[in-house]
């Protein structure tokens, strides 16, 4: 039997809850968008229910631990097609098991979730590293990125602690939303359609007058610390994959 949900995390958890309520074992759970229709099957469309969602998480915490709850949420942010099934499978296994299964690396589902979580961790770490702020005239430190996974919700803590006294905005141009910190708290924001195009490359008029200087200084610094005798492009590319280059000012062509 197939259950569909609205592509949110709470939606997925609600669908998992429904499988238990209707006593369906080994159901298929897919996001509504991915449901392609079938002649022989009418899916059960699950409405998101926050209470149901939190009951599933409480169950996971009881059977396993807080760590497991965090693991599942982080994996969901990967947006990988297999992830709803993996999360559902983990919940089923956790409910059946008498002991915490979070560290059972011999189990395929558990191991796969850990591997996805590792990728999420790597992407979060990359964002901590590769976000490049540009100072605008209205004193906002502004950055555009395009992470492989939907990791923006995992970023505020790090940047709030680091930059509590400056306003900053990190915008995901692929998923079209951002996080904005106003020196008090961080909120999710979206922009009107016609603003979006301008966001990728800020024009000189909106930038602080000193901003270009610091970008040039940074690029000069980056070029000067290289040791040509030790050139190792393979290692370089491994650490800074090409898809991130467009957001790294030091990797742009020299124009000065």
């Amino acid at each position: 039997m197939t259950f569909t949900y609205n592509n949110t995390y709470e939606g997925l958890l609600s669908a998992i809850f429904e499988t238990y309520r209707l006593k369906v074992k080994n159901a298929r759970i897919v996001p509504e968008e991915e449901w392609q229709g079938s002649l022989f099957e009418e899916p059960i469309v699950v409405e998101t229910n926050l209470e149901y969602a939190s009951r599933v998480l409480k169950g996971v915490e009881r059977q396993c631990s807080k760590r497991a709850v965090t693991l599942l949420y982080r994996c969901f942010l990967s947006e990988l097609p297999e992830v709803s099934h993996l999360i559902y499978d983990f919940v089923q296994k956790a409910m059946r098991s008498k002991i915490d299964i979070t560290d059972n690396f011999g189990d395929d589902t558990v191991l796969q979730l850990h591997q996805i979580n590792k990728k999420i961790g790597r992407e979060v770490h990359r964002m901590h590293a590769f976000v490049r702020f540009q100072l605008t005239k209205d004193e906002i430190y502004y950055s555009v990125i395009e992470p492989d996974f939907n990791v923006l919700p995992l970023l505020p803590d790090h940047f709030e602690k680091r930059y509590p006294a400056q306003k900053w905005l990190i915008y995901d141009s692929k998923r079209r939303y951002g996080i904005f910190y106003d020196q008090k708290q961080t909120d999710f924001i979206t922009f009107e359609e016609d603003h979006r195009l301008e966001l990728r490359q800020l024009s000189a008029e909106v930038l602080d007058e000193k901003e270009p200087d610091y970008q040039i200084l940074w690029k000069s610094y980056f070029d000067s610390v290289n040791i040509p005798e030790r050139r190792n492009m393979k290692l370089h590319l491994q650490h800074v994959p090409k898809r991130y280059w467009k957001y790294l000012s030091e990797k742009r062509e020299r124009t000065f």
Binding site: I101, D103, N104, F105, G106, D107, D108, L111, H125, H128, A129, F130, V131, R132, F133, Q134, L135, Y141, S143, K161, R162, Y163, P164, A165, Q166, K210, P212, D213, Y214, I216, L217, W218, S220, Y221, F222, D223, S224, V225, N226, I227, P228, E229, R230, R231, N232, M233, K234, L235, H236, Q238, H239, V240, L248, E250, K251
Partner: protein
């Protein structure tokens, strides 16, 4: 745009780049509400140079004017290079503005010796002090402790910096005297010893009185140039081991000598000894994270590291009586000694085997490099490959697995 600043930055970053330390981890400085930055937990590499090294700090010299004439150093007095000097304000401004844009984790400030050691050290301290007090900067600061500087200045530096380092540069005093006539080990060890005892003192005090200020919370480190002078790996690793044990250093860096000069006091190398440098780092890791004793890695019979295989593999091949190890029953320490199994895999194995016996397929998924590990372990699979333990046969199998090109480029830690 101030062209002068750019020129200074290019000269003084270029002059600082041969110091290989780039760590920004291991400190515990939290930010304040109105402050800028923090340095807690793990470091962040904000970008990488084309030589594959991490860029995490603004690593510059305050000046490359120097009264010394050390053969291994680009900034030596007799070398014909462009010279420059930053003002205190310029360094502070660059640090703050780079940090606010998330370019860097902090500042790594070193300097040529102008006038004398104290005069130089005093200026380094002033910059750190201004960043911490006037700008409420809580990012990472790494300062050089200048050999020969007074204890008072070194002490003040420790109050503002996260890490201090004083470089041995050359792994024996005899060689040092030959290439750096103005230097001696006494001047190097004096600030190092002072820091060792001061860090220890502050730690003890902190336990008793919570409000004790931080003192060099990320500890101290040092660097040795490898391949410029004749010391063997036995000598170098024993020296490193002493530094970890007696001086409680956090890190020892090894810098493969890059022939930067035509100074006839030094050998004319065609290429930097990069593989040897890598093997030294691997050995360093074995001592710090894998529970190896230094004499298990090198001894008088094997005074130099094997360039063909990594030091853990070399150890296993020299000690066939310890293998194969049963992955399902052996203690963690022994699993850690299997070539191809790192700290993370070893921990996962120990956690996972509580849920059931592990097979080869499990090991592969956990991240064990079976290409190397397979000869040294047994697991639940009965048909598991056991060719018998013939070190020479295993060696040739393992070495053949590395194509010659790959072997030459191999620079990762435990690839």
């Amino acid at each position: 745009m101030n062209y002068k600043i750019r020129q200074k930055l290019e000269i003084l970053a270029d002059a600082a780049k041969y110091d290989v330390s780039c760590a920004s981890s291991g400190s515990n400085r939290k930010n304040t509400k109105d402050g800028l930055g923090n340095s807690t937990g793990m470091g962040i590499c904000h970008t990488y140079t084309e030589d594959g090294r991490c860029v995490s700090l603004l690593k510059i010299l305050l000046t490359n004017y120097c009264i010394f004439d050390c053969a291994y150093c680009v900034s030596r007095k007799s070398n014909d290079v462009k010279r420059a000097a930053f003002t205190v304000k310029e360094v502070v401004d660059l640090t703050i503005n780079f940090y606010r844009r998330n370019y860097i984790e902090g500042l790594f400030l070193s300097s040529g010796i102008f006038k004398n050691a104290d005069y130089t050290m005093e200026r380094l301290v002033r910059i750190a002090k201004e960043l911490r007090t006037e700008h409420k900067f809580n990012g990472y600061i790494h300062l050089k402790a200048i050999p020969g500087a007074s204890d008072e200045l070194i002490h003040e530096a420790g109050l503002y910096a996260d890490r201090l380092s004083v470089n041995l540069e050359i792994p024996s005093e005899r060689s040092l005297k030959k290439v750096a006539p103005e230097k001696n080990y006494k001047d190097v060890y004096q600030p190092m010893n002072y820091l060792t005892s001061a860090i220890d003192g502050y730690k003890k005090e902190k336990k008793a009185i919570k409000s004790t200020p931080k003192f060099t919370p990320a500890g101290q480190s040092t660097q040795m140039v490898i391949g410029a002078t004749p010391e063997n790996d036995l000598h170098i690793l024993n020296l490193a081991n002493d530094l970890y044990k007696a001086q409680k250093l956090r890190r020892v860096y090894y810098s493969g000598y890059i022939p930067i000069s035509e100074d006839n006091r030094l050998p004319a190398l065609k290429q930097a000894p990069l593989i040897r440098e890598n093997r030294l780092y691997q050995s360093d890791w074995l001592m710090r994270f894998y529970g190896f004793k230094v004499d298990e890695i090198v001894d008088t019979k094997h005074p130099d590291l094997d360039l063909e295989v990594d030091p853990k593999m070399a150890y296993a091949l020299r000690n066939p009586h310890l293998f194969p190890v049963d992955i399902n029953t052996a203690p963690y320490e022994m699993i850690l000694r299997i070539p191809g199994i790192g700290v993370k895999s070893a921990k996962k194995i120990v956690a996972a085997r509580r849920h059931g016996k592990l097979r080869k397929a499990n090991l592969k998924k956990i991240g064990v490099v079976l290409k190397r590990a397979q000869y040294f372990l047994t697991c639940e699979d009965k048909e598991f490959k056991q060719v018998g333990f013939y070190p020479e046969a295993i060696r040739s199998l393992v070495v053949q697995g590395n194509s010659p090109k790959k072997a030459a480029n191999q620079l990762r830690l435990f690839g």
